[in-house]
Amino acid sequence: MDFDAVTIALFLAAGVRLCLPVALAALGEAVSERAGVFTIGLEGLMLFGAVASAVGLAMTGSPLMALVIGTGGGAAAAFVLALGTVLARANQIVMGIGFNLLAIGATSLIRQLVLTNAPPTGSLRTVTMMKLPWLADLPVVGRAFFSQSPVFYLAVVIAVLLWAMLRYSRLGLVLRAVGENAAATDAAGLPVLPIRMGAAVFTGVMAGLGGATLCIVASGGTFVDNMTAGRGYLAIAIAIFARWKPVRVMLVAFVLGLLEALQFQGQYLGIQIATPLLMAAPFVVALIAWIAIGRAGAAPADLGRPFLRGELR
């Protein structure tokens, strides 16, 4: 096996496809963490998005509608989660752990009650493949980056928009201020809790879309119990060591996607490394990167701290 252009293009394309659900969720996590809300429940939000999309597909038969419904499912679940973490000031880590446990059970129950065992019918092409005109014909990159699910292009657009929003817009300024110093933002007369609720629900939108993408685009519309299998936790790690920068989130996720793709490539190429060790690789790389970052780049100062007006803290 030699490393020709096709192999490389396939490898890159696989990296993109594998990272997409995680990257979407990580973008959402980056936003809520910027606003000071640590969404450990990301895994559960993805699960709710995934099961909602599967239900949506069964009901409407339209993959596009399924993605929309999945996104809505994630947002609705995030709203409930945020009622706890933001409004009721529940400990964000504890709440997230409980939420993830609940989500595994609840989504499985929903599947058993609502979904049948029959695999989805109808083509999913509209959401799995969209060749961009002209660009898709470019050598290597055409196949790698411009012959992808439309959700991927959407993710790139969202990442760029988020970057511009955080950097240049007033909304971005307010969002960052809430995460850095909620008390100061409150003193400026800005509504801290609604802003955090908004950020948390946006996280749900992105995690829901991520879960829906996992289910509809990557798994052909099949919902499997606990199908996220740790992807939510990985997304949290990505958001953090991308230092909450949206474009960097995409890049970090892509690199980890490539690592995952390498596992399969390694198998084809007959590389003699045990599968479990290869599967551990993204986590090892993430760990090394995290250690290398070390103290550099501080987290938003109010990350994980519930907001209380006054001196009650």
Binding site: A177, E180, A188, R309
Partner: protein, 497 residues
């Protein structure tokens, strides 16, 4: 004078824990005046400010804006009604720039007006303030951060400006500059309310005053014709001999702690120390005066044995008892009971154990005795330190340090945030320790206090010792210039009008 712009009308506030912070308080603020709110710690000044600003809601009474009743349930309501507030603990976003911090609060027209950095400069110039709009807040010295905090309160054309203890963090010369700025603001017709407990500052700068004591108004009037002693009496409720010397002037015995040519490299927002020589002797109180951030923290850390000099030599005795500046994070472990806070160092020295386990009975007994001796007001020795007032918390820290019987005791801002009586008690105990032969080194920015208790005072400025005064030579006129005269290279001065 016209009608009051805002009136606190028979305001009461009871906190959820049952504490009655304000009782039937009425205060008027008029346009174009600087109104001083005077009182001891815990008199209710900050609570009143927070009620005006919508941080807390009153449990009785209300607010009248131009005679019309208004409710401030959150700061947004207060801002909409033209109120700006300068908080004691700045409400600034430290990683943001000056311009971003201003943009954050700006509403409507003001937001459009502050879009570009040049606009921000123009806006600041109106109040005689010159700052780089692109500077990151966290990198600015406290005095400049305070200017930004004031500007922030003015961005939305405020007609009422509230300042909570603005002068405590400033050097004497900086206080003057602060009031220059406030007078400019007043002269634009704004009502300026300043919370402080410094009578001299009020007499020199304010137009009217209101005195609060234990949550009630005990006096109000015009500054013109007001008398310092009378004001002090209103504040503390009895006449205290402020400024009188505590204990005799002592001469030190044998040297116990020596710093020779000690230097520490400059760090974040601090000049470090350069070439400091200091000899502390038995049975004396040595004051270290200086504006905050001139090397005091480094000096205290050296004494505490927490860091080593980059250059020079330090000779420490076997033990140094410590009273740190930050009571809540360093002086105490707030969730531990009073008893374990009092005896922590002794327990760690393998005392109070039985069969390897802690002897809770013995710890309790010993703690009771210490609580009695140090006059610590607590429900029991098992109460968490968190539940105690600031003064009583400081008494715990001091009692523990004293109980260590160390040859040297180092204290850092020991009276900050305490009311007059509690501060007096602390100073008295330090003097007693010196009388017993202990070496006391007291780092403080409160010069009057230093003069009253120290036998000699060294002044730190820009990380250097700029002078030493002793005995009758310890007067503010000498010390003030030593603190403020030479500005170390690289340290930014305060912008003046």
């Amino acid at each position: 004078m016209s009608a009051p712009i805002i009136k606190c009308d028979h305001v009461s506030k009871r906190y959820p824990n049952g504490f009655l912070a304000l009782e039937n308080v009425t205060v008027d603020l008029y346009p174009g005046e600087i109104h001083a709110l005077l009182g001891e710690n815990g008199a209710g000044k900050s609570t009143l400010m927070n009620i005006l600003y919508g941080v807390h809601e009153p449990t009785g009474g209300g607010l009248l804006l131009n005679g019309r009743e208004v409710r401030h349930t959150r700061p947004g309501d207060a801002i909409a009604n033209g109120i700006g507030m300068v908080h004691q603990h700045f409400k600034l976003v430290m990683p943001f720039t000056v311009a971003e911090n201003l943009a954050l609060v700006a509403k409507g027209a003001a937001r459009a007006r502050l879009r570009r950095h040049a606009d921000v400069r123009t806006f600041m110039a109106e109040f005689g303030i010159e700052l780089d709009p692109g500077a990151v807040l966290g990198d600015l010295p406290l005095a400049l951060q305070q200017r930004v905090e004031i500007l922030k309160a003015l961005v939305n054309e405020s007609r009422i400006l509230l300042l909570d203890e603005p002068s405590t963090i400033l050097a004497p010369s900086e206080v003057g500059a602060l009031y220059d700025t406030l007078r400019r603001i007043r002269d634009r017709g704004t009502a300026v309310a300043v919370v402080t407990h410094n009578v001299d500052e009020v007499l020199a700068n304010a137009d009217r005053y209101t005195v609060l004591r234990r949550g009630r108004t005990v006096g109000t009037g015009h500054i013109a014709g007001a008398d310092a002693d009378a004001l002090v009496e209103l504040i503390v409720g009895r006449s205290v001999a402020t400024g009188s010397r505590i204990g005799p002037y002592r001469t030190g015995g044998e040297p116990r702690l020596v710093l020779a040519g000690v230097s520490i490299r400059p760090g974040r927002g601090s000049p470090g120390l350069s070439n400091v020589d200091l000899e502390l002797r038995a049975g004396e109180v040595v004051g270290v005066a200086g504006v905050e951030g001139n090397g005091q923290t480094e000096l205290f850390e050296l004494l505490a044995g927490q860091r080593l000099p980059d250059q020079g030599r330090i000779t420490l005795p076997k033990a140094v008892a410590l009273v740190p500046q930050d009571r809540h994070h360093e002086g105490l472990s707030l969730d531990l009971p009073v008893s374990q806070n009092l005896l922590y160092s002794e327990i760690m020295r393998r005392r109070y154990r039985r069969a390897g386990l802690l002897d809770h009975a013995a710890i309790g007994n010993r703690a009771e005795a210490m609580i009695e001796a140090a006059d610590i007001r607590t429900r029991s020795h098992a109460t968490p330190a968190r539940a105690l007032s600031g003064g009583n918390q400081q008494k715990i820290v001091l009692a523990r340090a004293m109980a260590e019987d160390a040859p040297v005791i180092a204290v850092y801002q020991p009276t900050r945030g305490l009311d007059v009586a509690a501060a007096e008690a602390v100073l008295a105990r330090l003097a007693e320790a010196a009388d017993r032969g202990t070496t006391v080194v007291m780092i403080s920015s409160n010069i009057e206090e230093l003069i009253r208790v120290s036998d000699r005072i060294v002044v730190l400025n820009g990380g250097r010792v700029t002078g030493e005064v002793s005995g009758a030579g310890m007067v503010i006129e000498k010390i003030g210039p030593l603190m403020t005269r030479a500005v170390a290279p690289g340290k930014e001065g305060v912008a003046h009008g």
